[in-house]
Structures are given as structure tokens and as C-alpha cells.
Symmetry: C2
């Protein structure tokens, strides 16, 4: 695709995920070019910048698509403004603070006739399709998820994570749930959950979920934001014919113990290719299954106060 | 309809709501006759009784419909068994512990070709259609909900309410949310919530929710299970052209201060008429909007431990 035909896209919210993943993927994209940014805290050299998204939408009618990378708490009014201004919209995960926000955005996108893409980046990890193929061909009786990372290392100073609507340990944990719901063929139900909430925070720092489906698969997930030393993002599908283990957030299937952060290589390149496809076909992709599992964990869960967390 | 043509229906779960509402409504019903009951704690004189629903389903193929009135924690496997046995299914509210359970039941009913009716009895309160008509013809800027009752008076000894999946104050509060979502025309979003959870319970004893919609209506709900003295189940819709107030759980529109319990007169008669209609048309009615608001309140909420509750 020639440069002149690329979709002009703006990025709103220039925090860690935008700078680490979206901007490099856009620099490599054949389908999109970064045409503008919006963030009250300032922009990038040589890219047209707006402090407020509303001004960007008003002054840059040539920008036809937007990636929204802000924390979840401020996302809904910005998403609504973009859709009402007729722009295609890509949402970083989670797609909203609540299921109600996502349903409202789905309706707005449909009314505006634009594409809405609620992304789950971990679903684009290289080992996920291979795991799905394996699960389709084998009986699975048990799934074990261990998603344990050091919040001080990966989310330094991100206070929004601990505030209401910030998801706490479900911010990384929903990545595991997005892989799980993409790999297992049947709808999942949360059977029980325990949520550990620091006494000075609104969101859990650790959670343990028991889930199942109508085939009786026993799924246990341990999510923890207090993991020092080696970091763990593993998911094992086990049955009488063998097992397959995703490691390092789905970036590999090897049997070695994982070290370091999930590589996320290619996840965002694939996300932007998929966004271009959706726009081309006039379609949206909005799967709330991972967010619904988090909501259900709260509905059926037992919260336990735990010691205060200080960054 | 002649008696011989009535649907033979079984009631599973002979607790308070079954005895107070379902059995009297069934005794008056022209569309259904009570043919059997299931409850591990024993049955009724002169009605065929089974300790286990599975046996009822196996031994009474003539029973074509089931009302499920158990606490939410044990409902899913019973509901699934009934649907897989090809029976039309009426669910007392809430329709499940989690959204995932309700979605799974919806899929099972569709696969089995039977009617699934997730009831919200308060929607059948006499003043609800009049409130909906009023709201359709007037601008609403503000909704105030006060749903305050004495749990010791209305739920004596019902320990399941305080256990995980028991909903706590949302057990009555979801009635208010079912009226609200039936009266307001636009989808609602939870903006913030505070949940007071007794230190010896898994579910909240009080909650305060702020909600809105895309027209900017400001909705405040105060739910409290600790209300002694006069009991309150009120919902006021207010705007520049006036206000309408539902009182006593939607059973009247008068301006007098409400006293005593919501009358619930006719709610369950209307529910069984609607169930017969759905069966006749081969349709289901499953609206998760009230349950989604509760889930979203947990997602975006801030929990506060409060003093232990003892029945």
C-alpha cells in the first residue's frame, strides 16, 4: 500500500503502552501513519499535538482513525467523542471500566457506521494459535494459570491501577483471561474467587479464580502483583493425552522456565493489520468475554483486606 | 383455557419466595398447574415431591415447565439439567450468580429449543408501565433511588444472602435496577460505587451507586439492608417539567410516605401469564441489564469493610 493511501491515525494517551508498543508498531505499519497525538501532558517531536482530543477531532478531519491508550478511568468520554465524530476507534485493553461502557460504545459505533476494535493484545502472541489448534485436537481436563509479576517493575508510579476502575492485578490478569477465552472453545463460568485488596487501595493486588465450562474443565488461575525474582506468565492445558504450556505471556511454548518480560513481539503489528482489515470490511470486533470474567469474579468473589501497598 | 390443556409445571426450591409468591400465583393460574415439587428439605401435602430435581426430570416426563426458586448459588446445575432435559424454564431473580452463568443458560435453551424466562418481578409492579409512559413524554434530568429495608425482617435466617454469590443488599437492590432499566430508554453506565461489606460477610450490606446515560441523566441509588422503622422502596424521576415517584417497590405512585412491604400484588400472576406467552411463541426473554449493573458496580466500586452483621 503506498504511503499516500495509508489511514491517518491519531494516538490519544501517550503513556507507557503507547510509547512501548503502539508508536513502534505504527512506525512499521503499511496501513496507518501517525498523523497526530492527544495528551494533556505533552506530545512528541515532529508530530502534530493537541492537549485535548476534542480539539484534535475538530481540527484534523483528515484523521480517520484513533487509538485510545489512556487509563480506563478516562476512556469512555474520549471514545464516545471519537465515535460521534465518525472516527474508527481502536481501544487498548481493557476496553472500558465496565461492561456497560463497552456496550454503549458498541451501540455508538454501529450508529456512526465506523469500526470499533476492542483489542486484547495477548491474543496476538505467537503461541496462542498453536495452543488453540492443540486444544481443538485433544481432550483438556485441567487448565492452570500462573500470572505473577512485580507491579513495581512493570507499572512504576501508575497510580490509576489502584484506583476504582483501575483493575489492580486484573490489569495483567485480563491478558491471561483473553488468551484463555480465545483458546478454550466453550463459554467459561467463574465458580469462586478470592480477591486480596490492600487496605489503602480500591483494586486487588492478588486474586485466585476457579472457573469451569460445560465440559467440566477445571481452571485455576493465580494472579499476583507481588512477585519478586523470576516473573511468571504461564498457562498449562492438561489432559489424558498430554499437555501444552504457554509461557512468557504466550510468546513461547518451550519448556524452559521463562525469564524477563513477555516479549510481545509482533502483537501490535498484528493488531494494526487486523484494525486495517476491520476498517476495510466495515466491521467491528468487540469481545467482552475477558472483561465479563473479571466482573463475574467480583460478583462471586470474596474480598480479603491485605496489607497496604506503597509504590 | 381448559384445565386439561394447562402446562404441567414443577417448582424447585420451596423457600420463602416460592411459598409467598409462586405457589399462590400458580393456584390462580389458567395456564399452569403445579404438578410436582423438588427440594431436599421436603415438599407440600398432596403434591408429588422429589428430593432431587434430577429424579423429577427423569420420572415426570409430563412436566414440561419448571420454575427455579433456589438461592443463586445452587441454581446453575439445576437450570442446566432442566434445559438439557428439554423443559421450559422460569428463573426467579437474579437469574444467576454471574453473567457467565446466564449467557451459558441462554445458549443451552436455544440449543434445546425451549423457552427461558429470566424474570424480574418488580418490572411487573403496577406503577412501572405508568412510569415508563411518563418518562417517555418528559425530560428526565435526575433519578433518585432509595431502597432501604431491614434484612432481619424480610430475610430472616437466609444465610445464603451473605455468602459469595449471594448479592447481599443487591438482592433487593437489583429489583430497583430492574425497574430503572425498564423505565429509562437509554443504556446505563455505573460511574462510581461504594460498597459496605460487613467484616464477617462476603456480600455488601449497603451500597451507593452513581450512574448515568448518554443523555447525562444523573442517577443516584442508595441501597441499605439496615433500615429499621419505616421501610423505603422509592424511585423518583425528576426534570424541568415535573417529577414522578414510584413508591413501595413500584406498587404505587401516590405521594404518601410508604409503609410496610411492597405489595407485589399481581406481579407473579403477570409473570406466569408472560411465561405462558413465551412458551406459546417459542421465545425466550433474558435481559441481563440489571445484573450487569451490579457486576459493573463491583468492577468500578470501592469496598469498605464495616461492622460484622449477626442475624
Amino acid at each position: 500500500m503506498a504511503a499516500a493511501q495509508r489511514h491517518r491515525l491519531a494516538v490519544a494517551g501517550l503513556g507507557k503502552i503507547a510509547r512501548d508498543q503502539h508508536l513502534p508498531a505504527l512506525a512499521r505499519s503499511e496501513a496507518f501513519e501517525l498523523a497526530a497525538t492527544a495528551d494533556p501532558a505533552g506530545g512528541l517531536p515532529e508530530v502534530d499535538h493537541f492537549d485535548a482530543l476534542e480539539r484534535l477531532l475538530a481540527e484534523r478531519p483528515d484523521v480517520t482513525a484513533l487509538s485510545l491508550c489512556t487509563p480506563p478511568q478516562v476512556r469512555y468520554p474520549l471514545a464516545r467523542a471519537a465515535l460521534q465524530a465518525g472516527r474508527h476507534l481502536l481501544l487498548e485493553k481493557p476496553p472500558g471500566q465496565t461492561l456497560g461502557e463497552v456496550e454503549a460504545l458498541r451501540a455508538l459505533a454501529e450508529a456512526a457506521g465506523v469500526s470499533l476494535f476492542a483489542t486484547w493484545h495477548s491474543r496476538f502472541a505467537p503461541a496462542v494459535p498453536r495452543a488453540r489448534d492443540w486444544v481443538a485436537g485433544h481432550r483438556v481436563e485441567r487448565v492452570r494459570i500462573a500470572w505473577k509479576e512485580d507491579v513495581r517493575r512493570w507499572h512504576p508510579g501508575q497510580r490509576w491501577i489502584w484506583q476504582p476502575g483501575g483493575f489492580g492485578v486484573f490489569d495483567p490478569g485480563i491478558n491471561a483471561l483473553s488468551i484463555l477465552t480465545a483458546v478454550l472453545p466453550r463459554p467459561l463460568r467463574v465458580v469462586s474467587a478470592t480477591l486480596e485488596v490492600p487496605e489503602n487501595c480500591a483494586a486487588p493486588i492478588a486474586a485466585r479464580l476457579s472457573m469451569t465450562d460445560d465440559a467440566g474443565v477445571a481452571i485455576e488461575a493465580e494472579l499476583d502483583f507481588r512477585q519478586e525474582g523470576p516473573q511468571t506468565w504461564d498457562m498449562a492445558f492438561e489432559g489424558p493425552e498430554g499437555a501444552i504450556t504457554l509461557q512468557a505471556g504466550g510468546s513461547r511454548l518451550s519448556l524452559d522456565p521463562p525469564e524477563g518480560a513477555p516479549a510481545m513481539i509482533g502483537e501490535y503489528d498484528a493488531i494494526y493489520r487486523r484494525f486495517a482489515e476491520l476498517i476495510g470490511r466495515g466491521e467491528s470486533e468487540v469481545d467482552v468475554a475477558p472483561l465479563r470474567l473479571v466482573a463475574d469474579a467480583f460478583l462471586v468473589g470474596r474480598s480479603r483486606p491485605t496489607e497496604a501497598f506503597h509504590d
